[in-house]
């Protein structure tokens, strides 16, 4: 079985985001870019399934600018076998990405597709679901455990207030939640080996898809700054402030 996983290039989780002065978006100049953390989990899961003998090949896909090859190389170092870049400078939205991924599925016919449950840039949590709809495949979102069978997968899902276990027919789309696994570090020997692994590059036009945006961004604003904390002299002052200023007790 082939497993297809995604590796989105996003602003690193630990970077302090700055909004551009004209409010058109966030400043990406000289900002550290990394693999979307939920995709790291997807890659790790696919590699573990391969290591367990449940899959023969792990293919990693990224949709975006040419530099996405860095994220593909990371995934290849982590154990994916080959990469596919759908290269475009277009501002990407979940629907466009899902269409590109659908085209890749049509080419590769994987038995399982694992994506992150969301990307930490837009926090949309839509790509996996849209992809399932476009491809007409089953979906199991927010997975914290995957038990892969011959022609079905049993997936434990993180839902409000508990866990839900479902079985889906393969091929299926699974999206990863945080508890699914703890991704490994990229080993240096594997990074060297990964240099020889192939990356195929297509444009959306090559795949016959239109990834242009459907949603228009009006403006981007940073969250309101939180006021600094203060120290109070006594419990009485604290109670007074909680009651009369913060109004959280009566």
């Amino acid at each position: 079985m082939k497993i297809l996983v995604t590796a989105k290039r996003v602003v690193d989780y630990n970077v302090n985001i700055r909004v551009l002065a004209d409010q058109s978006g966030v400043d990406l100049n000289n900002v550290k870019m990394s693999v979307n953390p939920f995709d790291e989990i997807a890659i790790e899961e696919a590699v573990r399934l391969k290591e367990a003998g449940k899959a023969e090949e792990v293919i990693v896909v990224s949709v975006g600018v040419s530099q996405c090859q860095e994220q593909l190389r990371t995934a290849l170092a982590l154990g994916a076998d080959r990469g596919i870049l759908v290269e475009t400078d277009e501002a990407l939205q979940p629907l466009g990405i899902a269409k590109a991924l659908k085209a890749v599925i049509d080419k590769e016919a994987p038995g399982l597709i694992i994506t992150g449950k969301q990307a930490i840039d837009g926090d949309n949590s839509q790509t996996g679901q849209m992809l399932a709809a476009l491809a007409g495949l089953a979906q199991a979102t927010f997975a914290s455990e995957i038990d892969l069978g011959e022609d079905s997968a049993t997936v434990t899902r993180e839902i409000d207030g508990g866990l839900e276990t479902i079985t889906v027919k393969l091929p299926a789309i699974v999206t990863t939640d945080l508890r699914l696994n703890e991704p490994r570090y990229a080993s240096l020997p594997n990074i060297m080996k990964a240099k020889k692994k192939p990356i195929d590059i297509f444009t959306p036009a090559d795949l016959g898809v239109d990834v242009s945006p459907r949603v228009k961004t009006l403006k981007v604003e940073p969250p309101a700054e939180r006021a600094a904390g203060i120290k109070v002299e006594s419990v009485e002052v604290l109670v007074d402030k909680l009651r009369n200023e913060a109004k959280v007790i009566s």
């Binding site: 970077v15 990394s34 693999v35 990229a186 240096l188």
Partner: protein, 465 residues
Amino acid sequence: MLPDQVLSQLKAIVGPQHVLLESEDLQRFGVDRTTLWQANPCAVVLPSAVTMVQKIIRLANDCNLAVVPSGGRTGLSGGAVASDGELIIALDRINTVIDFNAIDRAVTVGAGMITADLQAFAAKHDLLYPVDFAAAGSSQIGGNIATNAGGINVIRYGMTRDWVIGLKVVTGAGDILDLNQGLLKNNTGYDFRHLFIGSEGTLGLICEATLQLTRPQADTTVMVLGIETFAAIVEVLEVFKTKIELTAFEFFSQAALDKVIKRQGHSAPFATQAPFYALIEFETRTQVTSVALALFEQCAAQGWVLDGVVSQSLAQTRALWRLREDISETLWHWQPYKNDISVRVSKMSDFLAEVDQLVAARYPDFEIVWYGHIGDGNLHLNILKPEDLPQTEFFERCGIVSLEIGELLARYGGSISAEHGVGLLKKSLLPYSRSPVEIALMRSIKKTFDPKSILNPGKVFDALV
């Protein structure tokens, strides 16, 4: 105990609520991170202004009261220990930003400011205060200056000394000195500022400091390599240092890694077991990373390196740093005897071979944990106390071996205290690093600034009589 009359004068100077006498406070303020000495100060005073410090020092001179300056008490050599009825002066309330100037990239702060607060202040202004180490969340700028703290960025940014451009101190005689005033160029005779840096509270109370800030670091990439031998660590250091501007080159042994993983719940960097690990950090740039990869291949081909990983995100950079940064706190559990020694990097390889042989022969029954800022020629050689051995006996045995390490260091022109200072713990070793003439000169300098020897008597060298 403190005479009533002195006590009331102290209360008059700082306000009654800022003289602490409760046993709990005396215990807390009376010791640093060494565990050998019992706290026994007579009182703790918390002044909030330099003039108050001056009045306290004058009072202490008048009644021959010994004074211990206290910072964050994260010190590892007993410099801030008050075990003999001393008065503790803690500058916790002199801890604010007094002046900041973006053109000078200089900030003046109260010496009681926590190191991490200064780092955060600099970051807020898009600048960097580059001295950093695992105790930065508790140590104070005054304590850092008094010990000339080093840390994890010395290979790139130097020691605390390199960032101090002004000091306001109250000498042991009670004079207020405004030293160097933040100037970059000031050739007007002896630079007393540098005498106070590293003086471990023996010359004066550091009350305010002006620090140079610099441009922030770019995001960094961290590699952790598994390394076969001591000699190979130095080879790897040399290879990397000549080709890349490193921001850190640290090392630790398998025993250190095992303990950190077990006690802190971190994940191992890779499955391969290696006797030693090097943590190498550099600013993230595509070309630099590819050079680093090539260097890794070169080191692997030589057989020096067994395996390795490289961070792919800032989260991984931080997680890999924890493997090194959490060692000191983790080892606390075993009440280690800490050697903090240095030699020139060029002599490291030969020195390591000899010191390894020495401790293996002398400590056959003790567990030895190696780590340190090896890129600076600095080794933290920790001997762990066997559970059933009483602490005094353990320290006695380690003390004897330390004399042999001292002799070895003297032969290599090394230092018996690379960054933790001398305090009480390393006093007997001082002659291995400093000549009798030098020590005599230190004493006469102390006498000049602190004629009645009220400041930290018995620290660094025995009290003057």
